[in-house]
């Protein structure tokens, strides 16, 4: 019997408070540290994975049309890419380490499966990326245009391959396949190809890479809009805005349909309790409506101030307007995600922003088509200022996926509290969490400063200057 507030001794009360505030709780610290470091890390790869195909497009145009401006554009994007790649690499190393340092029991349990994909990322993607990036950045004059195109392509290929291995790893935690339980209680791989082509991984990958392209194209568009608005580097301003808007409008629409829709189907089928929590559906309903805005109250188990579209949720999930969608009340409490408001808000932020991206980019594309975009300063202002939002949407999407997976670390197999390192105390965890916070604050400031300088220099500085 847990003590009630009236019967608690002082010591129990202290422990109770600590448990609630969680700052002396290794589980909370480990989760916070992983969440913080991975969120910060992913700001960079989403940009590099998004820019990489755009660089390849410019390099291809340069080869095809033999115009130097495409090379210049590619070189400029490569500077942004290289900086972001560096920050992605150095903030990425802690991710691979943290499985072992903070989540040792999880590593022991699932290493027989997911270490395959993580190790494959190392030998297949990292070597490829790092070697060809060196060639791409330092060798343009020496290797000639065709080889330089190839090295750009290999950097793109490597970064997208790297993404795939990470997604497969996460997909196994979301929807474990291709394994069996060994006698020592750990998971062992029994089918390599089932793991590698987990259906969850394929749609999650497509959805994730769509998000990366949105980030890359929004950033490029914003840089172009900045040049046009400030009337410098105008030639490149036009090029970036034009190419960026075209890429962004395609990627934004694709992101909702089919990729987002298919991702939603998977959640509906395999994680129905997550779906209910994401949508804030406390009670099972037939002809369930979809909520656009509203605040979940987990104590009273209802949504406050909801604005909704009737029947839409049933249609989106089951393709029938009157279908029954299971609410949280149909699932045992211990299977509910442990932070429903966070899950609900991050999901709604992602979808809301995604819809906004389509609206902005269709508007911009129409102006581009009517040849009025470069003079429509109000639209250029919108394009310039909207670059942070894809970062937010992608982050919110990942929070949706990972908080939605809770309370499981490996869905249905291992709960989050079973996965942490048995010998690492909360005190040591907090020490490194604070260290990461300080370090990343400095890194973030440095990155913004350096990117600002590069954008300020632009693609057309005097030859040979740094």
């Amino acid at each position: 019997m847990p003590p009630t507030a009236l019967t608690m001794t002082d010591r129990q009360a202290t422990e109770f408070c600590l448990e609630w505030t969680g700052m002396d709780n290794a589980l909370t610290i480990d989760r916070l540290q992983f969440a913080f470091t991975v969120t910060f890390h992913y700001l960079f790869p989403q940009l590099t994975m998004g820019l990489a195909p755009l660089i390849v497009i410019f390099k291809s145009l340069a080869l095809w049309k033999k115009e130097e401006r495409y090379n210049r554009a590619a070189r400029f994007l490569a500077k942004i890419f290289a900086l972001s790649f560096l920050f992605g690499v150095i903030t990425g190393i802690p991710m691979e380490f943290q499985f072992g340092t903070n989540w040792a029991k999880f590593s022991q349990f699932s290493g027989g499966v997911i270490a395959t994909t993580l190790a494959m990322e190392g030998v297949f993607a990292f070597f490829l990326e790092s070697s060809f990036l060196g060639l791409f950045l330092y060798g343009e004059k020496r290797i000639g245009p065709k080889w330089h195109w190839l090295s750009a392509f290999m950097v793109f290929f490597g970064s997208w391959l790297s993404g795939y291995f990470i997604i497969v790893t996460d997909a196994w935690m979301q929807h474990p396949v291709g394994y069996s339980m060994a006698s020592d209680g750990t998971a062992h791989l029994i089918s390599f190809w089932t793991l590698l082509f987990n259906r969850w991984a394929i749609w999650q990958y497509i959805h994730n890479m769509g998000g990366a392209v949105i980030t890359g194209s929004f950033v490029m568009t914003a840089v172009g809009a900045f040049y046009l608005l400030s009337r410098k580097q105008v030639e490149f301003g036009r090029l970036f805005v034009k190419a960026g808007v075209i890429a962004a409008v395609i990627a934004s629409i694709f992101q909702i349909f089919p990729s987002g829709d298919r991702q939603g189907q998977l959640v509906t089928n395999y994680q129905p309790v997550t779906l209910a929590a994401m949508e804030g559906l406390f009670q099972t309903e037939s002809g369930a409506s979809i909520v656009l805005i509203g605040q979940p109250d987990t104590v009273a188990q209802r949504l406050d101030n909801p604005i909704y579209v009737p029947g839409a949720l049933s249609f989106l999930t089951h393709r029938r307007w009157e279908a029954t969608v299971k609410g949280l009340n149909d699932f045992p409490r211990e299977q509910w995600p442990d932070n429903i408001p966070l899950l609900y808000y991050s999901y709604h932020i992602m979808v809301g922003l995604g819809t906004l991206f389509i609206a902005i980019m269709i508007g911009a594309a129409l102006l581009l088509w009517r040849k009025r975009l470069f003079d429509a300063r109000w639209m250029l202002w919108i394009l310039m200022l909207s670059f942070p939002f894809p970062f937010i949407a992608n982050t919110a999407g990942w929070i949706t996926a990972e908080v939605g997976r809770q309370p499981w670390l490996v869905y249905g197999l291992m709960r989050t509290e079973q996965g942490l390192s048995p010998t690492v105390s909360a005190g040591n965890g907090l020490f490194t969490l604070i260290g990461f916070m300080g370090m990343y604050l400095v890194l973030g400031v440095m990155y913004l400063f350096l990117i600002g300088r590069e954008v300020d220099h632009g693609p057309m500085p005097s030859e040979g200057s740094q």
Partner: protein, 347 residues
């Protein structure tokens, strides 16, 4: 099969120490061999296109440990929690110091980057050596195969040692000297003029320290862990390894005095391979010995992953590593020869 993976993991760690070893060494010696801003830039340029790829071997080796021996990965990464996190921070700072130096054309910024680069490289070499020292000495494993080590306790090699005790400090210093000489050999190979001269001189002086430290650490190892000799008794061909160490030490001195930079660099490479190979040979089949109860030790048998994974892994690993070696050969051939300040390219 687990023996094969033991070899592969050792091979990847060896590749890491040889490759990232020289660029860490370059970091340590750069204030000693480069006196002017131009020389600094030159020294940095010797590793510019390759250091990142070299560091990937660490990640790949870490991945291979996780893959082949999940329990070893889980146990050692959580047990060495604090030093590993510090290694991460040092790796971050070092990456910043190398890559961002040229982005801002300001002498203060560049001095700061040089300082960060050298300090982080120096500390990393010591940490690497101390890590190997910890593995050889053993750690206080419990019956579940887990442990936690504080950074230091009383600096004694006892039942509850810290990450740093007199033995691991010794191996740390050995690693620092080894990589300093290795880095100096690399700089001598890649540069000309005053920088090359200083690097050669440094390598020559460092050689004596290297020999002294090698002997000292060998004696210390036999003293704290006499079992290391067992495998050599059982498999006599293992004596080839210490023979190789001696041979490479001699050839290092010989070719250094003759001014043959390439062979001197190959000799220090051979020395590192020999030392690490000897350690791996002596450890086998142990991965992490216990200082508590020897039966708690992690071996390749009680830490391995499933047999199916290991078999499939051999296939994809071979494909992947052949590709990776191909990239490296191409990259190094492409950037072969001396670096100069003239062909200013890059971003």
């Amino acid at each position: 099969m687990e023996t094969v993976w033991f070899l592969l993991v050792a091979l990847m760690l060896g590749a890491y120490v040889v490759l990232d070893g020289f660029d860490l060494g370059v970091g340590v010696i750069s204030p000693l061999v480069a006196k002017t801003p131009d020389e600094r830039r030159l020294v940095l340029r010797t590793i510019g296109p390759v250091w990142d790829g070299n560091e990937v071997w660490l990640l790949a080796a870490g991945g291979a440990i996780f893959f082949a021996f999940p329990l070893l990965y889980a146990s050692s990464f959580s047990g060495f929690y604090l030093p590993l996190m510090m290694v991460l921070w040092l790796l971050m700072l070092r990456g910043i110091g190398i890559e961002l130096r040229s982005h801002v054309n300001n002498p203060l910024w560049q001095s700061f980057c040089d300082f960060v680069f050298t300090l982080s490289s120096l500390l990393l070499t010591i940490f690497l050596g101390a890590a190997i020292g910890n593995v050889i000495r053993g750690v206080p494993l419990n019956k579940d195969g887990y442990f936690f080590e504080a950074l230091w306790t009383n600096f004694r090699v006892g039942p509850s040692p810290g990450i740093l005790d007199w033995y691991t400090v010794l191996t740390g210093v050995l690693a620092m000297i080894t990589l300093t000489v290795h880095g100096a050999n690399y700089v001598a190979l890649k540069t000309e003029g005053a920088v090359q001269l200083r690097a050669r001189r440094l390598s020559q002086k460092g050689w004596w320290a290297l020999v002294a430290m090698t002997i000292l650490s060998l004696i210390a190892t036999l003293y704290i862990r006499p079992q290391v000799i067992d495998n050599f008794k059982m498999r006599v061909w293992g004596w080839l390894i210490p023979l190789m160490v001696v041979a490479t030490l001699i050839s290092m001195l010989y070719f250094r005095t003759k001014g043959n930079d390439r062979t001197a660099f190959l000799s220090s490479t051979g020395y590192i391979v020999g030392m690490l190979g000897g350690a791996a040979f002596a450890m086998y089949p142990y991965l992490l010995p216990a200082t508590t109860d020897p039966s708690y030790s992690l071996t390749i048998f009680n830490s391995k992953t499933g047999d199916y994974s290991m078999r499939v892994g051999l296939v994809w690993w071979l494909v992947g590593i052949i590709l990776a070696i191909g990239y490296f050969v191409f990259l190094y051939r492409f950037f072969r020869g001396k670096v100069t300040l003239e062909d200013t390219e890059g971003y």
